[in-house]
Symmetry: T
Subunit: 151 residues, 12 copies
C-alpha cells in the first residue's frame, strides 16, 4: 500500500500563517500523524509552490506505483486547469482535502468569493473540507477502503 | 454521547433510486453501520421529505441534548435558506454529508449545474462529499474528535 | 389503468384566485372532467400546499401501482429541486401541466421573470402549458398512448 | 374549419436525422396522421428552411382564412424575433409544438443550453413539448376546442 | 377588527437565536405587546417552520374573516414563490415585516447576499425592515389606518 | 427633541406627479401632519433636487444638533453613493422612507428593474416602504422610541 | 440624388398590425409621403421578410448608385449580424429608423427586454426612434444634408 | 409656440472638446441655428453641469408654459434616475438628442460600454442619435408636428 | 472524391469589403486556387446571403454524394442555430473556416464581442481561423486525410 | 507651476468620519502639508459635495492655467460619468488619489463591492490608492516630473 | 528556416491519457512526423508542465532566431495571461493548435464550459482546432507560407 | 533598511516589448534608479516568469529580514490566487506597482477587459498604477514612511 500526499502553494507555511484559520500544526506534524496513524501504509509526501512541479509529481502516479492520491491544491484549487487535467489523467483515485471550510470563507468577512469554486473537485473521487488536519486522515482511510473494495 | 443524524427529501429511496449514482445500500443499512461502528454513541435517526419537519428536528438540538449533528440535506442543499437558518442557530457542530461528488454531477452529462452550490455549507462546520455511505462514518468520527477536543 | 394527478400549492384556490389568468373552473371541476372523459381510467387525485406531502405522494408511485403521473407543481415549478428529485426517481412517465402560458407570464405586465424557468421540466417526459383545464385531458391522453405503445 | 400547420428548418429531415431524439416518423407521416384523425378539418401543410418563407406563410393567416395555426419553429424557436413578430400579429390562435422535451435537451449530455429558451412561446397561446408526433394532434384538438368555445 | 399575524421558520427561536441580531424578546413577548397596544383588535397568531402550514393559514384569510395580515416570512422571504402566490391571492392587505435591516445584512460581514432579495415583497402592500419588534406594531397601525380609510 | 426630514429630487412635485402612484398629498401636507402629530418635536424640513445640497444638509447633523433623520432619497436611492457616504458618517439614526412599494414597482408593468435596489438602505437603521405619507409618521415614531431607549 | 429605403420583416403589415403601437399608416402611405416631400429625390423602395433578400438589396448599394440608405430592420435589429455586416460594407451612409421608441418597449408592460439592443446601430451613421412615419422623412433629410456637406 | 432646450454636463465645452467626435460647432452656434431655422418659435436655452439645476429647469415645464422639451442629457444619460423622474413627470413631450452615435461609441476603440444604455430614453417620446447639431433641428421639427397633430 | 464548399452571407463581397481584414482575393480566386491545388477533387461551390438556401444546400449532402463539407458561415456563425442543426444532421465531416482570427476581432478596437462565439463550431469536426484563403486549402487537405483514414 | 487639487463629496469630513479607515488628518492638514512640501508650487484647493461644482472647477483647467490636477473624486468615483467626461476633456494630466485601498474595501467585511470599480480611472493618467494623505504628495511629485519631462 | 514547437502541461502524456479524445499518437510521434514532412525545416521541440519554463522558451524567440512558433498551450489556454503576454511580445507569428475540437468539448457530456474560451487566441496569428496531430502539420505549412509571402 | 523588489512574468522584457505602453527603460535601469535614489536602503531585486519562484521569494520575507516588499505581479495580477495567498501571509507591507494605467488598458482599443481586475490588490497595503518606472520610487518612499511611522 503506497499513497502520495501532495500539498500546493503556501501550505509549507502551515502553523505560521493565519493560525486562526489554519491552526498551529505544521505540515510536518500532519505528515507525522499520517505515518503514525497508518503504520502499514507507505507515504510519499510532496509540497511545492510550483504548479509545474505538482503536475510532474501527480504524473508520477500514472503507472499505479501508488494506490491513491491525497491532494490539497491550495490556491490552485480555484484556477489551475492544468492541475485538473493531471488529476483527470490518473488511473488511481484522488481525494481533495481542504483544511478550512471553503464555503464559509467564500461568504465570510473576508469576502473571498473566489474560494467557493474548485475547478479540480469535478475530477476527484471525493472531497473533505473543514476538518482541519484530520481531513488528511479521513482521506487516507477512504483510499484504504476503496482499494480493499476493488480487490 | 448523543448524535442526531438527519436525512432530507428522497433519501428514504436510497438503494432503490438511481443506484448507479447512490449505490445499493438503504438508509437503514447506513443507520445500522453507524450503530455497529460506534457502539458507545447513542444515535437518533430522522428522515423526512418535509422541510418543516427537518427544521423542527434540528431545533430539538438547541438545548445541547445532542453533541453534534450529521446532516444530509438532499435537494434542500440547493435552496432551503430556512434549513440554513436552523443550522446556524444550533450551538453544536453540524457536518454536511453528500453521498455523491456534487461537483462532478454539476459538470457531468446530466448538466445539473444547480448541484454545485450548497446554501447550507457556509454555516456547517465541515463537509464530506463523494464518499458514499462511508461519509456518515467519517462525519461521526469527526464529531467525536471535536467533542473530545473541547472537553 | 391507474393515473395519479398531483396539484401543487394554491391550486386548491382555482376558480377563486385571479380568474382572468386561471379561469373559473375549480379543481373539482377538472377532476370531474377527467373522470367523465376517461371512464375506463382509475384516478387518484391529490392536492397539497405542502412540498413534503407532494413528495410523499409522488413516491407512492415508485412501485408501478400507477401507470403514469400528471403533475401541476404550481409555484414549486420554479425552485423545488426536492420535487424534481422525486419525479426523477419514478419509473413511470410524468407529464408537467401548466394552466396558463408560463412563458407569456414571464414577459407580461406582472414582470414575473421567475416564471420562465421550470426546474422540474427536464426530468418530465413532456409538458403542456397554456391549454387551461384541457391540458390535464391532453396529458392523460398522452399517458394512455405511451402505455399502449410500450405494451 | 381550416388549420395551417407550419414546420421550420430541418424538420423535412424528420425520420432521417437523429432518430434517437426525433423518432422514425417522417413529416409526411405526421401530415397523414392529422388528416386521418381529423377528417372534417381542412389542413394546409408548409415546411421551409427559409425564415422569410415561414413569415410569408404565417402572414397569409392574417385574414382569418385559417381558424388557427400549429407551429413547430425548429431552431428558429431560439432566435427568430421576426417569426415572433409574425405570430404576434396574427388574429387567430397559434400553438407551439416541439417533438422532444426541449427542457431536457438543454440540460442533457449535449449541453445545448440554448434550447431552453423559446423567444416565440410568449406570443403563442399554448405550447406542447415532448409528446413526439402526438403533439401535433393535441395542438389541433386544442384549436378545435378554442374555436368551438368562442363561437 | 381581526388581524392575522404569521411568522415563518425559526422565528419560534426568537430571543434565543443570535440575540445580537434579533434581540432578546421572544415571539410571545411580541404577541403580548400587540395585544396590549391594540386592546380593540382581535389577533390570531401563527408560527410554523412548515411552508405548507403557512400557506394553509394564509388561505384561511381568503374570505375576509380577517381585515389584514402581518407577515414575517423568515427565510421563506428569499425563495418561496408558493407563499408569494398565497399572498397574491388574498383580498386583504398584507404587510411584510423584518426584524433586522435585511439590506444591511446582505452587505455585512456575514456576506449573506441572498438576504437582499424578497420574492414576496412585490405582492405585499408595504414593508418595514429594521425596526425590531416595533415593526409589528407599525404594521398593525398601518392596517388599522387602511381599514378606516376604505370604510 | 429635534428631527431632520430630508426629501430628494422630484418630491417637491408630490401631489402633482403620477397621483395614482404617489397620492394627492403634497409635501407641505406631510410636513404639517408631522408637526401636528408630534407637537413636542422640533422639525427641520428640507427638499432639494440637488444631490450636493442634500449631502450638505445631512452633514449638518454631524454634531448631534439633531436626534435623528428621516430620509426619502427619491431617485438618489438607486445610485448616489455620495448620499450613502454622508448617511454612513452620521452619528444619529437615519430612517429611509419610500412612499410606494419599490419592490412592486420593480416588477410591475413599468418594468423599472432599477427601483429594486437601494444603495443607501445598508447604511440606514431601518426602512419603511409602501405606507404612503404615513411612512414618515412611522419613521418619526421609531426615532422617538430609539432615542428614549438609549437614554 | 437616389436613396434606397429598406424595410424588414412584418413591416408590410404596417397599418394592420398592433395599430396602438405602430399607427394606422401603411408602408405605401410612408413611401408616398417620402415621394411627395422630396420631389427631387429618386427613391427605390424595398420590403421583405427574407433576411437574404435584404442583404442582396443592401449589397446593390455597393457601387454608389445610391447616395444613402434608410433602413428599418424590423426584428432583424435584434439578432441579424448578417444584415449588420452588409451595412458595414456599404460605402454610403445608412440611417436606422424605428417607428416606435424601442427603449420604452424594452421596459414597458410587454417586457420585451430584447428590443433594447440593436446589433445594427453601431455600424449605422445615425438612428431615429419613436418618431413614427416622420422618422423616415427625418432620415432622408439627414442624408440630403450629409451628401451636400461632403460635396 | 415655446420650446425648452436643455443641455447637460460638459456640453458647454462643445466645439472645444474632442472635436473629432463632437464637431467644431459650439452650443451657441446650435442655439443660433435653431432660432434662425424656426423664427416663429420662442426658445429657452439652458445648459448646466449641475444635475439639480437641470431637474429644477425641467420642472419649470410642469405647467405647460412650454409646448415641448429638447433634452441632451450628456453623461447623465447613463445614470441619472433623478433626471429620468423629472422627465417622466412632464405633461409635454420630451425628445432625447445625442450628437454622436452612442451605439457606435459603446463598441468602438474607447470601449465605453456604459454609453450603450440610456436610463432616460424609456420615458422620452423619441430619440435621435448620431446626427450632430442637426439632431436638435430634427427634434424641434418633430415637436412642431406633434403639437399640430394634437390640436 | 467530391467536396461541397459553402460560403455564407457577404462573402460574395470578398476582395471588395474591408480588405485590411479580409484581403484582396475574391471568392472566385479562392475557388480557383482550390481547383488548381486539388486537381483530383470534384468541387461544388455555393455562396448565398440566404440562411434557408444554405440549409437547403447542406441538406443535399445528406446522402453521402459528397465526401465532406467546407463551411464558412460568415455572420451566421454567431446566431444561426438552424444552420447548426443542418450541420449536425450530416453524415459527412464538416470543417468550419474563418478567414480572419475571430478571437482577435472579439477583443480588437472594433469591440465586436459577438464574434468570439461560434454556435456552429460544436457540431463541426474541426475549425481553422485566421489563415486567410489558405484556410480553405487546409480544410480540404484535412478532409482528404479523413476520408483516406476511414477507408 | 500651478496645480489644482479637487476633493469630492464628504471629504470635508476627513478626520471626523470613520477615522479607522480615513485617519485623523483633516483636509486642511493635507492642504498644508502640500503647501509646505512644495513651496515653489502654487496650489488651488477645492472641495465640494456638488458634482456640478466639481465639473465647473475641473473645466476651469481647460485653458492650461493649471499644469495638472490631483483629483480625489470620493464616491463620485463609482458612478459619475459626468465627472469622467470633464476629466477626459482636460488637456493637462489628472492623477486620481484614494486615501484607502479601495480594492481591499470592496472585499472586506463591509462588503462594499461597488468600491472596486472606478469609472473615472480610465481617463486619468495614473492612480494611487491606499497611501493615505501621502497619496496627494506622491501625485503632486508625479505631476512635477511629468511637466519637467515634456518641457 | 527554424520553427519552435511548444507544448504545454500534460501533453507529455499524449497517447496514454484519454485516448478516445486525444488519440494514440505520442508527442514524439508528432515530432517525428513534423521532421519527416518538412525535411528542410529545423525544429526545436519543447514540452513542459511549468508555465514559467514555457514563457522562458517563448521569450527565446524574441530575437528572430526562429521564423515562427507552433503553440499548443494545453490547459494554460484557459487562464494563463502570462503566456499570453509572452506570445504578444514575440515579433514572429504564433499559431495556436488544439488536438481536439475545444468548442465541442465545452458543450459535450463532460460539461467543461471553461474549454470554450482561449485567453491566448486573441494574440496569435491563427488557430487550428480538432485536426488531431495533423493540426501541427497545417500550422507549420502556414508558417512556411507566411514567411515566403513577406520575403 | 532592506526592501525586496519582485517583478513577475515578462517584465524582464521591459524596454524591448511594446515600448509605446511600457516605455524604453529596462528593468536594470529601474533597479539602478532605485539604488541611486535611496542610497541608504539595501535592495534585493528578483524577477521570474515562474509563479512558484515568485512565491518562494515572497515567503523569504516571512521572518522580517525585509522591511517591506514592492511587487509588480505582471500578468499574475489577474489570476494568481497563489501569489495572493503568499502576499497575505507576509508580516511586512507590500505595495503593488503597475507601470501602465491598467484601468485605461481594460477599456482601450486592445479591449483587454481582464486587465481591470487585480486579485492581489485586496491583500496589498496600497497600489500605484500608471506612473511608469517612477511608480517603484513612489512605492519605496511609501515603505520608508510606513516603517518610520511604526517605530
Amino acid at each position: 500500500m503506497h499513497i502520495l500526499v501532495v500539498n500546493g502553494p503556501n501550505l509549507n507555511l502551515l502553523g505560521r500563517r493565519e493560525p486562526e484559520i489554519y491552526g498551529t500544526q505544521t505540515l510536518a506534524d500532519i505528515d507525522n500523524e499520517l505515518t503514525k496513524t497508518f503504520p502499514d501504509v507507505r507515504f510519499t509526501f510532496f509540497q511545492s509552490n510550483h504548479e509545474g512541479a505538482i503536475i510532474d509529481t501527480l504524473q508520477s502516479a500514472m503507472d499505479r506505483t501508488y494506490n491513491g492520491v491525497v491532494l490539497n491544491p491550495g490556491a490552485f484549487t480555484h484556477y489551475s486547469y492544468a492541475v485538473r487535467d493531471a488529476v483527470a489523467a490518473l488511473p488511481v483515485p484522488v481525494i481533495e482535502v481542504h483544511l478550512s471550510n471553503i464555503h464559509l470563507r467564500a461568504e465570510s468577512a473576508a469576502g473571498e468569493e473566489f474560494r467557493r469554486l474548485s475547478v479540480i473537485a469535478p475530477v476527484c473521487k471525493a472531497q473533505v473540507s473543514g476538518f482541519g488536519p484530520a481531513g488528511y486522515v479521513l482521506a487516507v482511510r477512504m483510499l484504504l477502503n476503496a482499494t480493499t473494495e476493488t480487490q
